[in-house]
């Protein structure tokens, strides 16, 4: 016989009729993908802020927090999801918990670095002007740290969009479901659609966040960066 199943020809890479027939499924997968990403990043932010502020306020906490989150980050995402299954099943919680953990790690690191990067002079000036610790934090340090924080949110968002596809291996998946379908049926079209849409989604989200950053940091605009 031959060397195996005939290599998929470029012509068969996209069977447009398949796309036409499956617009509903594709749309559902895309929506699920967006929801999972949005929730994971939001939850990550909500959890990251207190942790980061604590690490910033009490520098001794920083090293252990960063260290432990750093180690968790090296755990392959697939393993994390698999390990959660016995506890939370094939449900949305399993995916969300895993995804949120990863966004948390990225965000903590960036928020703390952003806060630390605020110029010492500025901080001292604020202190000299009589700003309370809290006011200093919210009116001076956080706004100045925003670019770095948003850079962190960008990375977290794009990374999560990629990770959501892995949740297809545990029954969720968003656009990842298209990969699994294509794999099972040995059919390239759903896979290509999934890849293109994931990339577009990430690109769009990234652009949106850059736009947000520009809106939120008007003082940075005039420097023509």
């Amino acid at each position: 016989m031959t060397d195996g199943p005939a290599p998929v020809l470029a012509a068969e890479l996209i069977r447009w009729s398949w796309i036409g027939d499956h617009l509903d499924d594709i749309r559902d997968d895309l929506l699920q993908h967006v929801q999972l990403t949005f929730l994971a990043v939001l939850l990550g932010l909500l959890l990251a802020f207190p942790l980061s502020l604590a690490a910033f306020r009490w520098p001794r906490l920083y090293a252990p927090i960063l260290g432990s989150t750093g180690i968790l980050f090296t755990i392959p995402s697939l393993a994390l999801f698999i390990l959660l299954i016995p506890f939370t099943g094939l449900s949305i919680s399993t995916s969300l918990i895993g995804l949120t953990m990863y966004t948390l790690l990225i965000l903590v690191r960036n928020i703390v670095e952003g806060l630390r990067g605020v110029d010492r002079d500025v901080r001292e000036a604020a202190e000299a002007m009589g700003y309370t610790r809290a006011r200093q934090l919210f009116q001076v340090e956080l706004p100045l740290a925003l670019p770095v924080i948003i850079a962190g949110i960008r990375i977290a968002t794009v990374t999560t969009i990629g990770l959501v596809t892995i949740t297809a291996l545990i029954g969720q998946g968003g656009l990842g479901q298209l990969f699994i379908d294509g794999f099972t049926l040995n059919f390239a079209t759903p896979i290509v659609v999934g890849i293109v849409l994931s990339a577009l989604l990430a690109f769009t989200a990234d652009l949106a966040l850059v736009g947000l950053q520009h809106q939120l940091t008007p003082w940075a605009r005039s420097r023509g960066r």
């Binding site: 195996g4 998929v8 090296t74 393993a79 990842g176 990969f179 990339a199």
Partner: protein
């Protein structure tokens, strides 16, 4: 906890450490995919990043490549590659290669680009031509960032090489896939720990290499002072 005991038992079982299914063999397979892909990626990405940094052409691509690269779902790539190439090593190599390229390009570009223009001018003033400036000034000064890029790529690649098991190959990912298939939680945890350890070791090892490779007078912050000193000395 029971799971902890089971995992420890799995990790310390001598049977786990011998034979074609053993941890050493699987680790070597894992490293083989990772090293091969990263090396080829570096060979391709470094020249590109350096060229863009040196000439300034195509900067937008270089700057955004890392961000775009993060957007490409590795699972999708490997499945697509499998659908095209079938069983074999091609799918995992292509996937890891694609993963490793962006950080190296971006970092090499930034590394070369961010060499202090004064230093570059000084070198040109000394009569160095483009290529000499590149090799004797820009590259050495860009080394910290270039190495950081290679490190980032390498660690990502090692973590993602677990996908090889998804398309029937070897590597440490086998413990995840087989453990899942046989409902052996200890195997999954054990495999995850091994991958995590390997990633950390990679990070530390390359950190060491970076210290060795980066020119002695050069730290990320002391770069300007050091090079200025060198240029003055040579004058």
């Amino acid at each position: 906890m029971n799971v902890v005991n089971e995992v420890l038992a799995w990790l310390t079982d001598p049977a786990q450490w011998s034979g074609p299914d053993g941890i050493p063999v699987r680790t070597l397979q894992h490293l083989w995919y990772s090293v091969l892909a990263t090396a080829i990626a570096a060979a391709v990405a470094l020249p590109i990043g350096v060229y863009i940094g040196h000439t300034g052409r195509g900067a937008i691509v270089a700057v955004n490549l890392t961000n775009l690269g993060r957007a490409i779902p590795s699972l999708g790539i490997i499945i697509l590659m499998f659908t095209i190439f079938g069983f074999g090593i091609a799918p995992i190599l292509v996937t890891l290669f694609a993963l490793a390229i962006p950080p190296i390009v971006t970092n090499s570009y930034i590394g070369v680009r961010s060499v202090d223009p004064d230093v570059r001018e000084a070198a040109e003033g000394m009569g160095m031509r483009g290529r000499q400036v590149l090799w004797r000034v820009e590259l050495p000064m860009a080394m910290p960032l270039i190495m950081a890029g290679i490190r980032t790529s390498a660690v990502q690649v090692v973590a993602t090489a677990t996908l090889a098991a998804f398309v029937g190959l070897g590597g440490l990912g086998r413990y995840l896939i087989d453990g899942l298939a046989q409902r052996d939680l200890a195997e999954v945890v054990g495999g995850a720990i091994l991958v995590a350890v390997l990633s950390l070791v990679t990070e530390l090892l390359l950190g060491r290499v970076q210290t060795l490779v980066v020119s002695k007078g050069l730290t990320e912050r002391g770069a300007d002072a050091a090079v200025r000193a060198k240029v003055e000395k040579a004058a």
